[in-house]
Amino acid sequence: MPFKSIPEQNFVNRDAELSYLKRLIDVKDSAIVNNVLLEGTRGIGKTELLKQLYRSLFWQGKNVIPFYYSFQRATLKVAYFAKDYFTRFVRQYLAFLKKDPSIIDNMSIPLTKLIPLFSTLKLTWMIELIEDFQEHIKDGDLHEQLLGAISIPAAVAGKSGNPVLVMLDDFHLATQLYETHPGDVPGLISLFERSMTSTTSPHILTGSPEGALEMIFTDDSFRGKAERMILRAMPEDAAFSMFRSLCAAFGITVRDECREFMKFLGGNPLYIKNMAKALWKMQRKEASLKDLWECYSYEVSDGETAFYWSSIFRGFLTDLQQRRIAIELLMHSIESHCEVRNLEILSKALGIPVPSLKSVLDALQISGIIQTTGSIRPVRDNILQDFIRNLYLREVEERDPEKIRKLIESRYQLQNNATSCFEMTIPMTADAELVAAKAIEQIGKNISLKPLVITQLQLAIIEACINAMEHSGSYDKKVLLKFTVNPERIEIAIETPGKRFDPDTVKEPTIEEKLHSEHKRGWGLKLMREVMDDVKVETIGDRTRVVLIKNIKSEVIN
């Protein structure tokens, strides 16, 4: 799926790498090594760089044929892999010739149906290559199938006279290719060597963790055939520019103060992209630093970033016992802040036998979650650290997910002495909203708000609580209220789990219409909007939050 990439304008700060990789073809006849190992930590943007390169070559003209392939665990059996690799190449080549990206992912058309399309293009040699490959399938010759697939880019480059740029994502998985069961024929990866030797089909290979590809290329068959390119974290300015651009695409304005959050994300494009998406899901129109922290606690617990890391954990730690050991081990590493050099000591500290630790450490190393070059280095990625904290609290301490989210949020609460926060929970019972109204009355008095303004706040809270009680369908029958007061404004968040509330679907009531209607209700949102400066409705996972905002100007104070 090479076309599933972020828009070009949001892909920033990788111009140098992109243009370098494009020039690989230019040096094809020179003695310079023209295969590249693209390395970098998870989420740093290796895949995205390949996809941007693919898109650029696809539309640029007919000189360089791009081919992108992502290795998947599900297709590592040689028979599946060979067919998948070959078919994807054929589709991508045809799509490139016809400049029709829809052909790429249309897996419903079998190889045989593609032959007539090449026939109309008068590419008889292509038809022969397809027929040869199908013969290998008929014969059941796995070795020939694999060779036929791997060498197809070089073969097409030779026949067409146009070089093929081969982009192999997650190439480290090729070490696990097998014939009938995992591990039965080690070393099948070496068959790629022949394809990489061809000067008309340079390869760009990505892999995680850092160093995984290097291990492959110390093997005799690959030694000296590739150079390394390390994709580094984005600098703060570029990261902020990317974040702003992504948010703008979602209609979200980002305040300047959010720049400092980019440091925390470590210039990782995946996290930046996920945060922008999370803000959009939470229906934010404007993002402050406070919004980002709040959004982050959700993102790292239940958002796409959590899902990303969860899938890696699931993929590499299938055994539940191993998974638990991994979580405890990682948590220990984070909290102790130091490298672990002695497994015996670690084993005693955690009460886990050394062999079990070793097996888990191997899995964590392969997955790219930790690095164990001589010692176990603590996880430095802030987001991964918080994800691990979340897993630990959830799976080891069995804490409530909502409380975990709050705990993570509270780690990063802004230390602003001028801000006061009050929280209360009211039951969904008759007149409980008056208790909340009483609370805001006292808060208002504390900061000398005029009685009229206090009454306005009370009315808005009452309406928000009634809405929450009547429409949320909340299973816990509770409404959470959070009052945040600073010298500039009062924010009251009224939150419940349950049904989503989309204010855009609420028709503005009019008195004339309501007077003649059986249904006379439906004034709540209008009332809130009338007495407050702003009313926002946000969705956080399965929770809906109405945020009432009153700016503190001189005319609202006694």
């Binding site: 109204a437 009019t510 008195i511 003649h516 009332l527």
Partner: protein, 115 residues
């Protein structure tokens, strides 16, 4: 929850405290009873009403509708500033007379009777 008094052909009703569904239902019942007795001039005095929520507002609309059907007159008195602003904003004041207090409303009706 609702206190009322009748003065000739005028009824004065005082919703107390929090005009929500409960107080609203009592208020509506009281108004219906007045209309049933042939009293079509109703004064709602809000001097003892602390909050009116959206449910209370919808009940006021029902009362307005019913009185309109019977060619009655509804008056609001002793509205605090916020309730006055809200009634104005929602357009409710187009369907009711607003007086500063009960006396002014009664005075209005007496004048009207004399005429």
């Amino acid at each position: 929850m609702v206190v009322s008094k009748s003065l000739e052909d005028v009824a004065v009703i005082y919703p107390q405290g929090y005009l929500n569904n409960l107080v609203g239902e009592s208020l509506e019942k009281e108004c219906n009873a007045c209309i049933g007795k042939g009293i079509k001039k109703i004064v709602l005095d809000f001097s003892k009403t602390k909050f009116i929520n959206s449910i209370g507002i919808s009940i006021l609309l029902s009362i307005i509708e019913k009185l309109k059907k019977h060619n009655g007159i509804l008056c609001f008195t002793s509205l605090n500033k916020m309730h006055e602003e809200i009634f104005e904003m929602l357009g409710i004041t187009k369907y009711a007379l607003v007086f500063r207090n009960e006396d002014e409303a009664l005075k209005h009706f007496r004048v009207a009777v004399k005429e």
